[in-house]
Every structure is written in C-alpha cells, then in structure tokens.
Amino acid sequence: MSGDSKAGFIGDEKLSADRRIDRWIRRVFFGCAALTIVTTVAIFLVLFDNAANYFFGARITELLAGATLDRQVSFTEFFTGTRWAPSHAYPSHGVLQIVWGTTVITVGAAFISIPVGTATALYLAEYADPSTRNRLKPILELLAGIPTIVYGFFAVSFVTPVFVDGIATYIVRPIGRAVHWIGTALPSTVGVAGSEVAIGATLIGAGEAMMAQYVGRYSMLAGIIVVGIMTIPMVSSISEDAMQAVPDDLRDGAYALGATKMDVSLGIVIPAAASGILASYVLAVSRAIGETMAVTLAAGFNANITFNPFEEIMTMTAYMVSMARGEAAVGTVEYQSLFAVGLVLFLLTLLMNVVNDLLKRRFQEAYR
C-alpha cells in the first residue's frame, strides 16, 4: 500500500483497464458511425463513375488517366428527350419519360397519404380517447412494417382487377356511353356567335375515348393507390408524434377560452407541430420516390408520358428493376443507363432531404 492509493483519485489497475476498454469502445462506435458515411460516399462514387461511363464512354479514373471523351449519350438527349428505350433496336435516352412515371406516382400518392395521414394523426392525437389510441397505433405501425412486395401482390390481386377495373367498367365506360349517346342526339356542329362549334362531334369523340378505357395488368392509378396507402403510416405516425409533443398547456389555454376541438386542432396543434408534420410529408414523398417493388407490380414497365390513370407507366425504379434483371451485358450503354437513372434518383432523394432540413430550420421550436 503506497501513500498514493490513499488519495483515492489516482486510480488503480482495474480502473485504468476500464478506461482502456472505454477508449476501445469509443473507437468501435466511431467505426460503426463511419461505416454508414463511407457506404454513402462509396455508393455516390460508384453511381457517379458509372454514370460518367454512360455519358462520356469512359470512367472517371480512365478520364483522369487521359482517355478521350467519347460522347455516348448527350445531356440534351438525356434530360430533354421524351422517349426512354435504351435497349431498343433504335435506342433513345430521354429520361423524362420515366421521371414522369415517378413524379406522377409520387404526387398522386401524396394526394392520398397527406390528407388521410394527417387526419389520422389528428384523430389519434386530439380526438380519440387514450384506450382507442393505444389500440389503433400499433395497427398503424404494423401497416408500415408490411413488406413492400406484399403491397405489390395487393395491387395485382385486388387494387387493379377489382378497384381500378371497377372504376373503368362501372363508372368511366358507362359515362362514356352516355356522353356518346348525347353527342349523337345533338347536331354535329352548332353555330355560336358566328363561329362553328363542334358540340356533337366533340362529345362523340370524348365518349368513344372513355368507352375505350380497359385496364390491363398494370395501371398508373393502381400505382398511385398502393404507394399512397403504403405511405399513410409514415405521415400519420410521425405527425402524431409531433402533435403529441405539443405541450398540453397550449391546449388548456385554448379550451379555457371556449375553443372547440376543431379550433384547437387546426389553430393551435397543427401550427405548433408544423415542423414535425412537414417532416413526415417529406419523408413520405421520399419513400414514394424510392419505392420499387409495389410500384413495379402495380404500375408496370411501359415508359409513357400520359395523364390517363388507366394506362401502364414506368417509374425510374421499375426501369432499374427490369434492367438489372440482366438482359443487357455489363458495360454496354444500356446497362450503364442503370447508373445514370440511379444517380438521378439519388439526387432527387437528396433534394428531399435538403428540403426537409430547410423546413425543419424554418419551423423549428414553434413553442419554446
């Protein structure tokens, strides 16, 4: 026993061993954190390198080593062309066609998930009594945990044949017949204010177009519905957390002034929880952009810029699935297009993350 040990804060063998473990644990944890960063950077580099090959015919490393630029696909063609068929006998590389597919599915799905998800969150946070909430919330979270391929089956076996086909068969085509019938009953053209207006002919044309709506195995509408339903739990769950975090003091203050539940929900809770609610929207949209399995099975593989919800369309992710199945040889232009599309997708989701950050900063700490 030396005098030192009496001081009590010198430490001993055991403590210094613990401290050594501490330092090692710190390194291990840092390594885990670094792994995700390295992976992200690596993915970006691979995408970028291969995309360079697609556009310039040489990888970045080759270009740095002095390879000559051999333009394969011009940026103009890629970003402004409207036909996407890299594997066609007469290839074409207009990415807009599949960007459109992704956009229309994402926007359409947002029209389902945002209102339904927000209303669900408001119901759970403000209207439901606690026992109902405790029963409903796990079910909602279960919905978020269903594998996306199951949603795909759901699209193929129910949404398309029953719901979408039902709309086409029992709503659109009968209306088309009615419009057509009215068109035949009216004169083909009518003179209005000195000019000929083709009323009957227009109605006949519109009626015929509506009567021609048949739903195949895939449709844009099925994709929108399935992705919309898939992303409802993201909106509702995260929004509800944000609403729960609003201090009850604020609700008390409003109720004590004679506010109704609706006044409090819309005027107090939603503004105070805005940052979390908006974050949930951005997350749901990001998820919809990147969604692959369900959307491929629901919306199909036919690149197509259309507004017709009954037609088959192709999203960027669906294209990547079909290309990665391995019909094209590695290194060919059509194979490399996979990476160019992947890069666009990556940049789109990156953009959503930036938007999310900006919104967070803008709406942060609405209360205290």
Partner: protein, 281 residues
Amino acid sequence: MKRTEANPMTDLTSQTSQPDAERTPTRTDPDPALIADDLSVYYGEEQALGGVSMEIPERRVTAIIGPSGCGKSTFLRSINRMNDRVPGCRVTGRLDFHGKNVYDANVDPVALRRRIGQVFQAPNPFPKSIYDNVAYGLRVQGRDDEVDMDAEVERALRGSALWEEVEGQLDASGLELSGGQQQRLCIARAIAPDPEVLLMDEPTSALDPVAEAKIEDLITELAEEYTVVIVTHNMQQAARISDQTAVFLTGGELVEIDDTDRVFSNPADQRVEDYITGKFG
C-alpha cells in the same frame, strides 16, 4: 362562423335560455356568482374534492388556499369544467352559475368556458403574435365580425397593464416576452372575450417577486369588473389581495370559508390556525 347559441352572453346551454332562478340575497354582500353545493370530484376511484359547499360573491376576489394535493386546483377546474378533459374524472353535486347547474346534461362546456375565463400556473401564450394571442378568444367565439378587434385587443392589454410595454410590437411573438409579461398577456387573453368570472390557478408561482407584485395589483383592479377566484399556495398573497378566503385541507375538504381578515386573524377551525401559522402543510 355562425354560432347556434341565441346569445352567448346570457345563455350557457346550447339550446334555449333558462330563466334565472329566483334568488333572495341573504346578506349584504353582493350576489353570489357561483354556488357550489356538495360538490365532489373523483379521479377514478380517488376522491379529490369532498363535498364542497360554498358561495363565490360577484366582483370580489375569492382566494383558495391549502396544502399541496388538497384539491384547490381541482375545485377551480371543476368550475369551468376543464376537468372534463381529464380521463376518468367524475363529478357529483351541484355547481350553480346564474342559478343553472353547470353539470346539467344540456350545458355545453364550450359555451360555459366562453363566460368563465382561466389563467394558468405557468404562462402559456400561444406561439402566435401578441395580437393574435389576445384576439384568439374573440375569434374562436365567432365574435370578431361584431366588434372592433383592434379596440378590443387594446382594451384587454390595457386591462392587464401590458399595453404600454407592447404597444409598438403587437406583431412580435408572445413567446418573446418575459415571464411576467407573458402571464399578463395570458390575463389579457382571458379578459378579451369579456368573461364574467376569472379563474386563476397560482398565477404568480412561476414569476419573480416584481412580476408577482404587478399581477397582484392587477388582480385587485380586475375585481372591479370580474369575479375572481384565485388558487394560491402563498398565504401572504391571499391575505393581500382577496376579500374572501376558503381553506381546503388534505382530502379535498373545505374546512373554513370567511372574510379574509377573519380567516387570517381569527380562524374558527383549529386546523386552519395550525395551517396558517405554519404548524403543518
């Protein structure tokens, strides 16, 4: 927004107006604004308020004092039925406001709260501008078309002695004010819709002594226009500002209620004397 009530100022049910019960004043004091009759409150199995009967006179300050957990806040929250928000809360007995039991089936708590304002323990301004905070009550009550809102906001802020401090910055967030200013903003918010009764739940306990003194002065002034019921854990405060004091003791029991001077100088109940002199509680 159109409201279904015929006139929110005289009617606290959502349907037709009830004639005021005949009442003969029994003492020279002002008419009671509120009469509790054997009022009990239960949270689940637990009784928080045990058969309280008392009268709260109009345009006076009634202080409710007592140790922690004696049910004084519960009593306050049962007046404007804020207890309805607590799951598992049950109320028995009567609480008459203008001769009408506020726990009758046809009373709408939303309509009731439009006539009984409340100020809370911690300042809780909305994350909105000062103006919107004060205007909130009139807006949700659908009265913003009927009155000159700017004038009403100014009147309420003057009434809470805050106008001079915030006059030029009504668009600033209510959260930017100091704690004492925030609490006066909450008082302005509560008096803007012109309620008859103002309930205050330890309104100065989160404030520094200077802000506390300001609010105490304000409460005395407010009693000229409003019936004030204030819960406080601070006996000096009760003695300074109230006309009548009710002492609740553990178990939610009302032990003594009388003029404030008498309660503090010559309490009738030994337990109250012990409590006031600091022997327990």
